[in-house]
């Protein structure tokens, strides 16, 4: 991709050129779409933190019988093709764009549904790795109410799972094309596709930049770090 993005534009150019990279900022639609896609990703992340995570914790703690149905429900977006989802939600989004707003930020609703399979798996694995029941009971006996148990004890304990799920969600939101294109929203990927029709080199450069962005994001996921060595294990 780097090779394509640095190839000469026309006959007058020779050798390698970074013109495709240099004119990225001068693409007005592109910069706006990046901003809006990032806002959408932010909204999706907030929904993960304040809706999906507490719900997953609640199901694990209080409704163990609902775990399987909840998991199946969360996996559904993976089984349903994107085009089917679009057909299903198109009337809703048509109504939204006529009566409310045409901003692509409204896509955060459908994206929150799309990211469920990835986010829930990540959260579920983190929740299974620790004895959250005992932690919750210990906190309750010390005087913590339910929201303090969820936000103050369980969420910090499964921090890595939440961060993993959130970053995967951002990557998905930044890379989604099918739904936004069919619904006619100018998201980051849709604008890249449009640029690609007029200037292939710039489109490749932007795509490479977006891949690098997601890669940096994934590398930033904290691995389980131990804050120090195990000390004095022979002591009581």
């Amino acid at each position: 991709m780097f090779d394509f993005s640095t190839k000469p534009f026309g006959f007058q150019d020779k050798g390698r050129t970074f013109r495709a990279w240099q004119i990225i900022p001068s693409q007005p639609d592109l910069m706006i779409s990046i901003g809006k896609s990032l806002i959408t990703a932010g909204i999706v992340m907030s929904l993960i933190l304040f809706l999906i995570v507490p719900t997953a914790i609640w199901v694990h703690l209080k409704l163990p019988l609902l775990r399987r149905p909840f998991e199946l429900l969360c996996l559904l977006p993976l089984a349903i093709p994107a085009i089917v989802i679009v057909v299903g939600i198109a009337p809703l989004y048509r109504w939204i764009s006529i009566h409310l707003t045409e901003s692509p930020i409204t896509l955060s609703g459908v994206y929150s549904m799309l990211i469920l399979p990835y986010t829930y798996r990540s959260l579920s694995a983190a929740l299974d790795a620790v004895d959250i029941h005992t932690l919750a009971e210990a906190a309750r006996t010390l005087g913590a109410n339910t929201s303090r148990v969820i936000f103050g004890i369980i969420m910090p304990t499964i921090k890595t799972g939440i961060v993993n799920g959130s970053f995967i969600a951002i990557a998905l939101v930044m890379g989604e094309f099918t739904i936004s294109n069919i619904l006619n929203y100018k998201t980051f990927q849709v604008v890249i596709a449009q640029i690609g029709r007029t200037n292939g080199n710039v489109a490749v450069a932007v795509s490479l930049a977006s891949i690098l962005f997601v890669l940096v994001l994934l590398l930033a996921i904290p691995t389980k770090k131990r804050q120090g060595k195990v000390l004095d294990v022979d002591l009581v």
């Binding site: 932690l135 210990a138 913590a144 304990t157 022979d234």
Partner: protein
């Protein structure tokens, strides 16, 4: 209810499907007392403790603490300190932060300076003041349970509830820690309910031990009374070792191994019965014309355990001080008699 009763469990009942975890359990605990609930798995001891903590709803019954009915009070408002069997320290907090956690909450809100002083005092009490800034994964199992104890005590609990806190630890650490728990409990005078399946643990640190079976209390008494004067065959057999020896019962006595010994209240009163004789109630003396032979001898340090086969084929186990057992080895001919200690006699068959 006696004047010093601080905690009352009245007629507690709880079913899990068809299993009766608690079946009319009643128990009184005096202020500052350490009561241990002992029993086999599934006897309901943990359910009783969790009910008192507010972590288990009851089908029936009443819980009274310090004169107040707490049966329907939420766990976070009961003011109970609890140490769990599983390691329960909050992994994202240091030892000090764990201890301070309860004091930051509304129920036990304490100002910053006082909170710090309290956590330092408790970590000192459990011998971990140098580990205050360590995270749980930097602490050994024993250290984690000590911090959990400090955390439970930090909120000055009405009752300290210990749910088999030592069972995940190795033998040496377990013995050391249980002695420390007792020391701290006496020092602070905290009313404590301790649940365990380890009889040695219960007998060694409790003021009173309650033996549970099928959701009911079989007997509650001081450790020595429970051991020496069991009221039921279950208690006699569950607490300590016993030799089942059959003999004839009459007039409050039983004739076994050539001796006549008194029977305990609750025993069979006539006919043939099976006496449950403690190994240390059996006296063994080396004698060439004895009535038994030693099949095997096990040296246990301060004492020695002898597996003995009587001339009539009965097999018994005796335990005597190692000094008295000197020279008595496998194959030795011995004279066996009973010390004059009352025994519990259950019905034969």
């Amino acid at each position: 209810m006696s004047s010093s009763t601080y905690v009352q469990l009245v007629d507690l009942a709880k079913h899990f499907g068809k299993v009766r975890a608690l079946d009319g359990l009643s128990l009184d605990i005096a202020q500052g007392e350490l009561v241990a609930l002992l029993g086999p798995s599934g006897c309901g001891k943990t359910t009783a403790l969790r009910a008192l903590a507010g972590l288990q709803e009851l089908d029936r019954g009443q819980l009274i603490v310090d004169g107040k009915d707490v049966t329907f009070q939420n766990a976070n408002k009961r003011g109970m300190g609890m140490v769990f069997q599983a390691y329960s320290l909050f992994p994202h907090m240091t030892a000090r932060e764990n201890v301070e956690y309860g004091l930051k909450l509304k129920a036990h809100k304490t100002a910053g300076d006082k909170r710090k002083a309290r956590s330092a005092e408790l970590l000192e009490l459990v011998g971990l003041s140098t580990h205050a800034n360590h995270y749980p994964h930097q602490l050994s199992g024993g250290q984690q349970q000590r911090v959990a104890l400090a955390r439970a005590l930090a909120i000055s609990p009405k009752v300290l509830l210990l749910d088999e806190p030592l069972s995940a630890l190795d033998a040496k650490v377990r013995t050391q820690l249980r002695e420390e728990i007792r020391r701290i409990q006496i020092e602070l005078g905290t009313t404590t309910l301790f649940v365990t399946h380890d009889q040695e643990e219960a007998l060694s640190i409790a003021d009173r031990v309650g033996v549970m079976r099928n959701g009911q209390l079989e007997q509650i008494a001081a450790p020595s009374e429970l051991y020496d004067r069991p009221k039921t065959s279950f208690v006699a057999e569950f607490v300590g070792l016993t030799n089942p020896i059959s003999g004839k019962v009459s007039g409050g006595s039983i004739e076994i191994l050539g001796s006549v010994v008194k029977t305990l209240p609750g025993s069979v009163t006539s006919g043939t019965g099976i006496a449950l004789v403690r190994p240390e109630s059996i006296d063994v003396v080396a004698s060439k014309s004895g009535n038994a032979k030693v099949a095997a001898a096990s040296f246990l340090g301060a004492s020695c355990r002898l597996n003995i086969t009587m001339n009539d084929g009965t097999r018994i186990t005796a335990q005597l001080p190692s000094l008295d057992a000197a020279g008595i080895g496998a194959g030795a001919s011995v004279a066996v008699s009973l010390l004059d200690m009352p025994v519990f006699v259950k019905a034969a068959g």
